[in-house]
Symmetry: none
Subunit: 404 residues, 2 copies
Amino acid sequence: MTFRIIFIVLDGLGDRPCKELYGETPLEAASTPFMDYLAREGICGFHVPIDPGIVVESGPAHFELFGYHPFREFYPGRGVLEALGIGAKLEKGDIALRVNFATIKDGKIMDRRAGRIEDVSVFEKDLTMEIDGVQFILKAGVEHRAALIIRGSGLSSEIEGNDPHKTGRKPLKIKPKTRNPDAVKTAKLLQKYIDKAAGILSTHDVNREREKKGLPPANYLLVRGAGEYRSAESFRERYDLKACCIAGAGLYKGVARYFGMDVLNVRGASGTKNTDVDAKILAAKNALKNYDFIFLHVKATDLFGHDGDAIGKKEFIERFDKALSKIYGVDGVIVVTGDHSTPCSLMDHSGDDVPLLIHGEGVRADNCFRFGERDCHCGLLSRIHAKDVIHEVLNLIGEERIVE
Amino acid sequence: MTFRIIFIVLDGLGDRPCKELYGETPLEAASTPFMDYLAREGICGFHVPIDPGIVVESGPAHFELFGYHPFREFYPGRGVLEALGIGAKLEKGDIALRVNFATIKDGKIMDRRAGRIEDVSVFEKDLTMEIDGVQFILKAGVEHRAALIIRGSGLSSEIEGNDPHKTGRKPLKIKPKTRNPDAVKTAKLLQKYIDKAAGILSTHDVNREREKKGLPPANYLLVRGAGEYRSAESFRERYDLKACCIAGAGLYKGVARYFGMDVLNVRGASGTKNTDVDAKILAAKNALKNYDFIFLHVKATDLFGHDGDAIGKKEFIERFDKALSKIYGVDGVIVVTGDHSTPCSLMDHSGDDVPLLIHGEGVRADNCFRFGERDCHCGLLSRIHAKDVIHEVLNLIGEERIVE
């Protein structure tokens, strides 16, 4: 009996029939001999991320997959997860937001990503300050991305962001979501900070240099996804599993850190369509020596879905299958699923069920011989809630707690 | 339309692919022409004892199967069910524990069952006493088994037992599970009782006699599974069904009595691998004259699972199928299922789904033609929660309450 688990999440995996694929989904159309082998020897089915038909973002979807219930337990919000993802150290009560460095001209947003500026860590020090006894800490991420941490007493995450998600518009004013005095205060202070930051950035050497080179200056902060940090029961405490994460995109590293997983840095794991899946699989294989649970996240499937690129999604899945086949023969339970569906025809998340396969010693093999949406219907797991997936896996390795 | 139901629970029935059976489960591999007939003409599926993947003990699993919810309603604990199983009369607030008569030497446990002593009823009177205004009542069961009832005011079942479940160790001290003063008091009194009982047993004539014969003396009480008794809504009140139970093992008789079922004594129904299944089936057939609902429990399947004996489990299922075929043609609904899975490969309970079949007049027959794990996947019942099984049956006989 093995106790090691490789838990693979292909973001936005689930799809719908695509015209470009003559009515098959990307997963159905893809040639995936290795995942078909896993399906044939394993048990398949679907998971429902929250409830049938309900659409969900990746953050809460991963909470459910890991057996944490964002809507019954505490959910810290996207800002906190992104901040943890870029390595920020948070304290209880901190408010955290996702930040984009943007380019503004005559009060209007010209570029929401400041020309995908390479490095914003040069601004960290200048944009970290205290306003009315409250600390504002800026922490740089990859390219134009950063996190803002607000630390002090009497704060609230019940505030709106200022990102209109479109160019040619003015940034929004920060508003409280409720009349809660803490929310009103936090919104007011945050607006003050953003205005101060805009002043600092407008005359910053780095931006003067960029303008000379004809590059868009990083002269405004767009913030969103405010959340409040509180520590959670760790994966080790909850399941007695030593867990690690292999991911490119920040959000998933943040989810992993939130549950106390070690985040392994893998060169080439970019969270983009060009991610080095071979490097990630190799890292997972190596991690089996030191960890009981390896969370392997791949973002590209979701990106192809958002772009409506069915052929691209199919071809990426084929590339992933080839890479995954390198773990053939490892002693462990392999789970392959998605966090939600991102149908190419919709170019957005949907509430469709997500294909799920579990391969490992002793599992009840079923009549599902290929890994695909229609095929998974023949799976014995049938249609379970995402929150139950981790328990199916723990049960398989004989580690589930007993109800007496 | 018939109103009679034979509800058969093959304990720990569900299993996983077994090497000894070339990748089939015992139920799949067994030749079961009669249950296959029931499956072919009936409706099949699976039930999930609590939630997907969650492992459960037999007590709460039976509560769920009977439509009582141990974690939402009251669950009296194993001690109470075992006490009821051996025929103890309980009053509201009584604390009951399962007792093993054991052999102790130099403070260490030599035999947890005192050589499976044949009859402990000889000790009943001497071990029934009052301590500090609280009554301790010992009630003998089969062989080394007994129940202890603690009756008085200000008691609590929030106490640990003293059975280390291993020989060569000292019995544990009775401890409260919480700081609740009632629990502290109950633990203290119970320890006092156990010490007194040990004194009485050490010089008891029956034990002196045993020692002379070279038999291990029954000189210590190992207690576990403390629970508090409160009456439950009976099967008759809840479902308007006159119910009886045919079982060998005490726990199941206790569950039945707890729900107000009559327990029928069947010679040869031992709750062991050698149980007389023919006698049990005959008794069930006869009981159809007087009862609407017959709960027939068979323990052997679980015992073979715990022993990892896949061949034995398969052969027992074949023996059971042959015996069951004697009810061919009876006018009633027949349910065959398990309470949980006990895979031979795990030698323990697991959280896997449990095969379920319902046969009776008017049932929607489906495409499941054999009774087995993989086969049941073709069943129309699909995957339901154990708590819903009784309602499917009541619906079939047209007796389910209407939600208006």
